[in-house]
């Protein structure tokens, strides 16, 4: 028999390291005489998209094309230390570092432009710098860079963002451990085949508070990926260790979801602004994945009236749960 169920999973996640662990990022911007920009950060984009977001931040602040920025990351001889890629911290900590850097550089260029244009209400936009009240007073960003170089003003700026928090009381664990938190709720609809123990996830609705979606496409992509990784955890993935030996040594035995295993995934991005975040943004990497397993497991509980205590909810564990032998292997 096929039984359907619905379940929810909510979570919160402290962004950054917290607990007084060093949580810093530095960022460098260098402007060439022709106005092209080299940005440097110690952060690694291992696929989640931070490079793109950093370029967007710089472009936003300086009014230039984001795709023309050359971003060099994570080369210990060349880039400053920005801390590791973890704890959903990159957009928040690294992004803030780039906002600071961009604004410092802009301040320098703005001074030169004010002098050249004889206006103080300057806007940096689409590769131009112009007066808001008198737009005809303008100079291209490229030209401005050359003029600034000719005057010998600094062309390299490095800034530092420190997200290190206080520690908590060691006896009670109480205190302001984190700078901010991320929030998410997901819903899962599942169908359980009581005769085989197979759980099929039909649908996931993911609601994530991202603070501000700096790149909504990226946010969605991260969430979709997190959901599917969470499904794998909930249903099938398990590294088996016996007596200190690992029994799952191939991707044929350790099975992650394929394109045929994914449900419908609906993503909703909420923007509850975080004042300290870059443009209000928080992290999304981990909040994408965490609510999925509890939502799926709660949906299985809803379908069966029985609860899995030993993860994952694979064929055997679910079948034995239904048939009253949960402790089975």
């Amino acid at each position: 028999m096929k039984k359907r169920g619905i379940g929810y999973g909510s979570m919160f996640y402290g962004l950054g390291y917290g607990f007084s662990r060093t949580d810093i990022a530095s960022a460098t911007l260098e402007i060439s005489q022709d106005g092209s920009i080299i940005a440097r950060s110690g952060e690694v984009d291992y696929g989640q998209g931070s490079d793109t977001v950093f370029c967007q931040i710089i472009a936003e602040e300086l009014g230039v094309d984001y795709s023309a920025i050359k971003l060099i990351t994570a080369d210990t001889d060349v880039t400053p230390d920005s801390g590791p890629t973890s704890a959903s911290r990159l957009t928040f900590v690294g992004g803030n570092a780039f906002i600071k850097t961009s604004r410092s550089l802009k301040k320098i260029l703005n001074g030169v432009a004010e002098d050249i244009l004889g206006a103080s209400d300057l806007v940096f936009r689409e590769g131009m710098v112009f007066s808001r009240s008198a737009p005809e007073k303008s100079i291209s960003f490229k030209k401005l860079a050359g003029r600034a170089y000719a005057r010998g003003v600094p062309a390299v700026v490095t800034e530092w963002y420190n997200n290190t928090t206080q520690d908590v009381d060691p006896e009670t664990g109480q205190g302001d451990a984190y700078a901010t938190y991320c929030w998410a709720t997901q819903m899962a609809e599942v169908e359980v085949d009581t005769e085989t123990g197979r759980v099929e996830v039909l649908r996931i609705v993911a609601v994530t508070d991202v603070g501000k979606a700096l790149n909504p496409l990226n946010c969605e992509a991260q969430i979709e990926g997190g959901v599917v990784q969470g499904l794998g955890y909930a249903l099938e993935e398990e590294i088996k260790e016996e007596g200190g030996y690992v029994k799952t040594g191939t991707l044929g035995e350790y099975m992650i979801p394929t394109s045929l295993d994914i449900p419908t995934i609906e993503v909703h991005l909420l923007e509850v602004t975080e004042p300290k975040g870059p443009y209000g943004a928080k992290g999304v990497g981990e909040p994408a994945l965490i609510p999925t397993p509890p939502a799926v497991l709660n949906a299985v509980r809803d379908a069966l009236g029985l609860r899995i205590h030993k993860l994952p909810a694979n064929l055997e564990n679910v079948y034995h749960l239904i048939n009253g032998a949960e402790a089975g292997n």
Binding site: Y46, A221, E224, L251, S259, I265
Partner: protein, 159 residues
Amino acid sequence: MAKDQDKTILKMTVNGEPVEVAVNPAWTLLRVIREELGLTGTKEGCGIGDCGACTVLLEGKTVNSCLVLALQAEGKEVRTVEGLGTEENLDPLQESFIEYGAVQCGFCTPGMLISARALLDKNPHPTTEEIKVAISGNLCRCTGYVKIIQAIEIVAQEG
């Protein structure tokens, strides 16, 4: 050390160009593509056919190049991601993958593109289910497949 006298000359066509390369009979097509021809766009994710990262076209059909002996490609035509498009002239799938966010870490991307290309060459207007089946031998851990499927769908609709 693999001695040169152990090697055999393999002749095949790679991305339209005839190539001749001395290979050890124990080498896989994947090893020859990456290490001997320097076409590192094709990736090794497992080496035993479980992940699809090394997918190439062999005589127009997708294969895991880690599961083909190099010498089995004798006289045959191989196409890798490097033969799909150029920066100036991207394959529509490459364009679509960029535009619709189908690329994250990128390690599965070359194999994924090859599988998608093989599908569209055979069936220009596949259903969503057919797209899912076509890439079901290509594991991806970053995207959850959603944007990849969407990117292929868009090319299929326009194609």
